[in-house]
Every structure is written in structure tokens, then in C-alpha cells.
Amino acid sequence: MTGKGIRIEGLKKRYGSGDTAVDALMGVDMQVAPGEVVGLVGPSGSGKTTLLKCLGAVIEPTAGRMILGDEIIYDNGWKVSDLRALRRDKIGFIFQAPYLIPFLDVTDNVALLPMLAGRPNAEARSRAIELFKSLDVEHRARAMPSQLSGGEQQRVAIARGLVNRPPVILADEPTAPLDSERALAVIRILNTMAQKFETAIIVVTHDEKIIPTFKRIYHIRDGVTYEEAGEGRAIE
């Protein structure tokens, strides 16, 4: 794979040391192509949160390789000095809850990321509004997060994940609080965005409503992943 996308080889993560050591990941292999939306499914305690944190460069793995596009970001040690810049520019996050900054309006919540990357305020805001158009929340552009409904907030959060056009997006249970119609809408948006911006999206979930929509699914059990072809059901 060249250009974008993410690839992981033999990733291991051990917490603690000696007798109390816990091996959360014991050799994970994964790859996601640009434009692909894959599911990451597993029971709690299987290590999926740990894997997400490693993918997001939030914690340091113990061993293995992580390659983002052409760049080796981890090879038994971080190969990138500024992890926060990495997260800001190369990795997009969509959390279980929207986690919007309450004292910024929704446009600025999203525009904050390009601004932190150094883009001028006007450009950052116009990017945000463009995304809002695609996500059908444009009419709420000037509102404060507390004034939006749960679904609207989630869509804003998705916009935030996308605004910097990162090559990789990690979504952690993005549909957990939503009903099936809204959940499918989220997945639809993700697919659209993935194709539009050639983003590789990994969705951690155990929501039965959306699992059938993935073309490929990684199961994770006891710290190891197994690839499986998904149903790839189309979303109306």
C-alpha cells in the first residue's frame, strides 16, 4: 500500500512488569486502505481500547511496527518526535461522546483543529462550514454545543474528526448512544467521507446495527486480531 492508509505489524503492548504484567496486545496485524471503513469488534477486555490508543499514538506500544501512509511512525520505538502534531495532523478522532468544548460555538469547535495547525481563522471556519453542509448541520453553525441535540452534536464531532483531512480516522463506538436510523446515517456519512477524502477509517464497535455494513471486520480476542470478511450491506 502506498500513499495513505494505515498498516500495523506485530504490535504488542504490555502493561506493568514482572509478576503483575498484563499483556493487552500480543502481536496485532492490521491494514486499512484509504477510502476503506473497517470494523474492529471484540468483547471488553479484549484489548480493543488499547489497540485504539496505540493507533492514536496516545500510548506507546511495547513492540511492533506502525506505518502511516509512507511514514513509519513506530518501529519498536517512536520514530516521530512530536506525537501531538501527529495526532493533530494525521489522525482524526471520533469518540463515544461528542466531547465538544462547551465554551466555543460548534463552528469554532471544529475550526479549532485547522487553527491549531496554523491555518488562518477564516479558512478554518469555511472548512468547518463546508463539512457541516455535508453533514446536514449547517443550520446550527453559530450555536453553542449545549443547544444542539445529541445527534447534531455527534455530527459536529464527526466533522471535527474530518476537518484536518487526516489520512486515518479512529472512531470509538460512534453509534453507541444512537438509534438504528441515526446509527446507519453515521456510517453512511463515514463511508461518504472516506471515499471523498481517501481516508482510512477504523470503527471500534459492538453495535449489531452497523456491523453488517462493514465489508471487512477485524475481530480482536485476547490481544490478537483475526480478519474476517463482513457482509458489506448497503446503507439506504
Partner: protein, 401 residues
């Protein structure tokens, strides 16, 4: 880049302003404390300035006339006037007592000024209303802090005086307002007792056979008369000739007149060192305590504000906000709170505390500048606790387990 601190403040503006005003009152009280201290020192200085004297001649071996009582004969000034270097010398008496006006009485320092013209040492150097004393008896110039108005009839001991002029900032070192009356009246007031005491004294003298001799009928009258005069004053105020050295003139008066003489700087040391030393220490202590309390409160407020944003800080870290930006958020808020508090404090101190406090509150610009600097520094240091907490936040917490 938008200002995160600014947006956060705008979002909870009411809480911020309210907190700032509360802090401002505390800062205002602290500034007022500093002002009270300065006012104390100024009271002493103003007393010395307004007397118009370069030298104070007092009773031998006393630190009078303000810090200790001092009595010298009222003709001593003539000898002092003839000394080289002395341009003017005038008697003066000081006596703190209750001055009655209508139904109320006011504590004032009654100052007896030598019969002369404006510009004599001891005379009030400037008036805010009315005129200076022209008659040799029964006229008074009072400070507006007494509450007297022009034309009021005031009573000092058994005589009534008409207030003919008003002054401002003429106070004793203890902050009591001054009332100026002619020297002879003041000597009588300082000395003369109530009628009962006078009658008793006359009776005692009359029953003393040494004074009550039938063969010498006028002896008793003469003795009684001598008992009811007061030939003493508290000090002689001296102005020296232009170009002469105060210390030299003081030394020659000490040597030849054998009286104690203090120069302006010595009097200042006496007043500030002896009279107001205790009050100054008390206020200094309060100032330190208030500053510490203010610092603690600012630290607490900023810490609480930061802790309330801990989730947002985690998210910000996760989405790639630099540490610098997060530190800036906290510190800018802290400083903004400090500035708001200072502005409210300065306004409160000047417009509310200074006018109503019973003593003179002197708010100097330098104190305000220093106070501002201290407030900003305290805010910055106080925010360190919050910043440390913010730095410890693990962005991974934003991603739920």
C-alpha cells in the same frame, strides 16, 4: 487562532465577573490597608509641614511637643529670636481635648497660635474657606474634619469661639483634626480648671496662714491671681534665615539657651519612629496577611476553574493542542481575573473605602503600580498549581476504557 481564554470567559461571563468583583473587594481592602499606612505617615508629615517650622524648641530632655508633653516659658521666644540665623520664632501650644458645638463634642487638637499675621510659624498655611484670625481672642480656625462650618459657635473650656475659617488636612499625628485659637486663650484653656476646682484652690490658699495675713491685705489676692495665670507654652517654632544651616542654628540654640531643639528630619524620625511605630507594625502585619489570603484565594479559584474544565483539557490534548496553548488558557484566565480584581479593587479603595474610613487613606500611584504587579505575579504563581494538574491529565482518558 482564537483566544481560548477569552471564549471561556465570555461563556461564563457572569461567574467570572462575580468572582472578579469578590476578589476585587479583597484587593481593595488590601490596597486600603496600604493607603491607611501611608495615611498614618502622611498625618505625621503633614503636621510638620503645616507648622511651617524649620526647628522645634521644646523643654530640655523631652521629645515633645507631639510625642511627649513639654513646657517652656512663654518669653523664651524672645531670646531665641535674637540668636544668629533665626528669622522668625513663635510660641505655640498643643492640647488635645473635646471641643463642644451645640449638642455634640468633637475630639480635636486645640492649637494656640501666637498673635501675629498669616505666615507666622504655627498658623495654618492655607485655608479652604473663610479668613484667618484677626482678633486677639475668641476666634477660631477649624479643620473641616471636625464638621464645623463657618460662623459656628464652639466652646472650648469656658469660652466661646466663632469659627471664622476652615482648613483641610490639618491634623495631629494621631489623626485628630486641629482647631486654631489665639495663644492666650489656648494657654488659659490648657491650664484653667473648672470652677469647682478653682474655688477649692482659692479656699486652700485662703486657709494657709502664710498667704492669708491680715496685716498684708493684698497678699491673698496677689497669690490667688498668680495661681490663675499660665506662663507656659509647649514649644517655640523657629524659621531660619534663608541660606543658613538648620543644624548649626539648632546647635547654637541648644548650647546657649539650654533647651532641646529638633530639626525637621529629627522630628520626622520621632513621629514616625515613636508615635506611629506600633500602628505601622499592626498595619504592616495586616497587609502581609491580606496578601497571603488573596494569593491563596486566587490560587483556589483558578484551580477550581481549571478542574471544572479537566475533560475539555483532555480532549484538547488529544486532538493535538500544544501544552503551551493549554498553559496559556489557564494563565490568561488567571491574569484576566487578577486584572479585573485589581480594577475593581482600586475603584473600591478610592471611591468607597477612602472617603468613609475615619482616618486619612492615602492611595499613592506607586502603591497601585506595585499592587498591580504583585497581583499579576500572584495570579501567575497561583495558576501554577492548576497548570501542574492540567499537565498531568492523560489525554487517553478522553478515550473511554
Amino acid at each position: 487562532m482564537i483566544s481560548l481564554a477569552g471564549r471561556d470567559i465570555m461563556h461564563s461571563l457572569g461567574k467570572f465577573v462575580f468572582t472578579g468583583m469578590g476578589l476585587g473587594l479583597l484587593i481593595g481592602v488590601t490596597l486600603s490597608m496600604a493607603g491607611i499606612y501611608r495615611g498614618l505617615v502622611d498625618d505625621g508629615k503633614v503636621l510638620l509641614d503645616n507648622s511651617g517650622a524649620d526647628l522645634w524648641v521644646v523643654q530640655q530632655d523631652t521629645v515633645g511637643p507631639y510625642a511627649e508633653s513639654s513646657s517652656i516659658f512663654d518669653d523664651a521666644w524672645r531670646g531665641i529670636l535674637s540668636m544668629p540665623g533665626v528669622a522668625r520664632a513663635a510660641n505655640v501650644t498643643y492640647f488635645t481635648m473635646q471641643v463642644r458645638q451645640g449638642e455634640r463634642d468633637v475630639r480635636a487638637m486645640v492649637t494656640g497660635i501666637a498673635s501675629s499675621e498669616p505666615g507666622t510659624p504655627g498658623w495654618p498655611p492655607y485655608l479652604v474657606s473663610g479668613r484667618q484670625i484677626t482678633r486677639g481672642h475668641y476666634e477660631a480656625v477649624a479643620d473641616i474634619a471636625t464638621g464645623f462650618k463657618l460662623g459656628d459657635r464652639i466652646q472650648i473650656r469656658r469660652n466661646h469661639y466663632t469659627v471664622v475659617g476652615l482648613t483641610r488636612r490639618m491634623v495631629s499625628s494621631g489623626g485628630d483634626p486641629m482647631v486654631f485659637i489665639p495663644l492666650k486663650d489656648a494657654q488659659e484653656a490648657q491650664f484653667l480648671k473648672d470652677n469647682d476646682a478653682i474655688r477649692q484652690q482659692r479656699h486652700r490658699t485662703a486657709t494657709n496662714p502664710a498667704f492669708n495675713r491680715p496685716q498684708v491685705p493684698d497678699l491673698l489676692a496677689a497669690v490667688t491671681a498668680s495661681q490663675s495665670t499660665n506662663p507656659y507654652v509647649n514649644a517655640v517654632l523657629v524659621q531660619i534665615k534663608a541660606g543658613d544651616d538648620a543644624d548649626e542654628v539648632a546647635a547654637s540654640i541648644r548650647r546657649w539657651k539650654r533647651l532641646t531643639v529638633y530639626t525637621r528630619s529629627q522630628m520626622e524620625t520621632i513621629i514616625i519612629g515613636k508615635l506611629i511605630a506600633t500602628s505601622a507594625k499592626q498595619i504592616g502585619m495586616f497587609l502581609v496577611i491580606l496578601s497571603i489570603v488573596s494569593a491563596a484565594i486566587v490560587a483556589f479559584i483558578i484551580y477550581t476553574l481549571t478542574m471544572g474544565k479537566i475533560r475539555e483539557i483532555a480532549v484538547l490534548k488529544l486532538i493535538g493542542t500544544k501544552n503551551r496553548t493549554i498553559v496559556g488558557l489557564i494563565m490568561q484566565q488567571s491574569i484576566a481575573l487578577g486584572v479585573l480584581g485589581f480594577v475593581v479593587g482600586k475603584i473600591t479603595a478610592t471611591l468607597v473605602m477612602a472617603p468613609i474610613f475615619p482616618k486619612y487613606v492615602l492611595l499613592q500611584p506607586l502603591d497601585s503600580v506595585i499592587g498591580f504587579g504583585v497581583v499579576v505575579v500572584i495570579c501567575m504563581i497561583s495558576s501554577i498549581v492548576a497548570i501542574r494538574a492540567a499537565m498531568k491529565v492523560d489525554p487517553a482518558e478522553a478515550i473511554g476504557g
